[in-house]
Symmetry: C2
Subunit: 274 residues, 2 copies
């Protein structure tokens, strides 16, 4: 992703040369204090600083109500120094908050996470030039592009259909002209679908669900999964593979890795695991 960061840094420099005094402004609105959200937000703030974007972290307490959050969004929508903002999900409040209502309150021009219905509508109908693309699928698409493999005409399989990962990933692959199949918890033929994929993106929220032997030789495989693996399983895995981290992947990596070694030996060519 270093290339992407360099490109953006350059764009900010060009922008400020053209419009002296101008500084692109990002805000990140957090409700509550989840550990994973704190981690992600810090990464985003760090990246923004590196690129030359002025980023502002707004933290509401976990007692914030829906009305409090909506009020804060309205002021960000109106603030001319904020060019885009992110509402960090999930919202961590002890009051009932309708997440849908929150994401749709973000003004479409500032909805850099692309989670409002208007953005989703444009993305799903192929108006890619006129919308913001959710970051995880956008990153996956960038990784796929970096393999140099042409997406058009390929068979792509996405496991998962969430608003944040699976569904927009489907849209991006479809409008880059892949023939796309979406799998989910009601899919009865998962191994078979996976076996057909030239490009496979897994975003199912369950560890070690896809078996390495299902995957077609030469396929591009992207695993979005960040799953907490119970300690007992972790001990078993660590015995198998000492480098295993606590956050495990959704693809059974020991199987994929052995498949990869096999392929590298017997079938040279593109075989990418990100």
């Amino acid at each position: 992703m270093g290339q992407v960061r360099d490109r953006l840094k350059q764009q900010v420099v060009e922008m400020t040369e053209k419009f002296p005094g101008f500084r692109p402004g990002l805000a990140i609105l957090q409700v509550g204090n989840r550990d994973d959200s704190n981690l992600y937000i810090n990464m985003k703030l760090k990246a923004a600083a590196e690129i030359g974007i002025s980023a502002n972290h707004i933290k509401l307490p976990n007692t914030a109500t829906e009305a409090d959050v909506l009020k804060c969004i309205a002021s960000l929508n109106a603030d001319p120094a904020v060019h885009g903002f992110i509402v960090q999900l999930p919202l961590d409040s002890n009051k009932p908050i309708n997440t849908e209502k929150i994401t749709n309150a973000v003004s479409p021009e500032k909805d850099v996470d692309g989670l409002s219905s208007i953005n989703a509508g444009k993305l799903s109908r192929g108006d890619l030039g006129d919308c913001f693309i959710p970051c995880t699928p956008k990153g996956c698409m960038e990784l796929i592009r970096q393999t140099g493999v042409q997406v058009a005409g390929k068979r792509a399989v996405v496991i998962g259909r969430s608003k944040i990962v699976g569904a927009p990933m489907h849209d991006l692959l479809l409008w880059n002209n892949a023939t796309v199949t979406t799998c989910h918890s009601k899919t009865s033929t998962l191994a078979e679908e996976v076996g057909k994929a030239d490009i496979l993106v897994v975003a199912a929220g369950r560890a070690e669900m896809v078996k390495g032997e299902w995957i077609k030789p030469g396929a591009i495989v992207i695993d979005c999964g960040i799953n907490h693996v119970p300690d007992t399983l972790l001990v078993q895995n660590t015995q198998k593979n000492p480098a295993q981290r606590k956050f495990d992947r959704e693809i059974d990596m020991s199987t994929v890795e052995s498949a990869q070694r096999f392929l590298e030996k017997f079938q040279p060519g593109k075989w990418t695991i990100q």
Copy 2:
């Protein structure tokens, strides 16, 4: 579709009993004078009258500008007697009009054709209870339901990804829990994809594209196509099948019909051609 009409008629009766003096109001806005649009609009006006909906046809000349159409939409958005309205597509004007801008000007609460980005976003992300569903895919889904075949867990293939038919059809099948594949003009494995489908919906705008022998025995097949077949081909077809109409289907029906006869004889069970 008679059942649907009876159900809606009954609902209108109940509504007017509950709120005397109330009459549901539909408007249809047409620009220009296309033959096919005139035909479709007449069918809609007739259906509305049968159901007890007051329907109003507004016809702008083919000299109408984008601003004229937007002005008319704004007044329909504001009119309390109009509960929903349709902008008949394609727009037939000799002035340049951005169709996207027009469909997105319709207020989401009145967008009964479901073509605005907000509606598409909700449908594509699975908020089916909170959006309007475009009529052709909605009708297809109704036909599929009437077969009694359970959609969840089945493999569905949609050929086409237009805003009006293909893309919303994908969404409806996906959120009814089928495993859905979308095919389009860049799909390199069409016959193979068709061959896997338990449910196949064809909306590709090309006559006789899908061969009967590709189709899996027992599949539910829906052909949305309305295609004008050149007279020369028509003559050939009419010789094969005297009932062939001028508007031809996208599935090669003679092949499908012979497959159907074969199946009915040798493999009893569900085999539906709508």
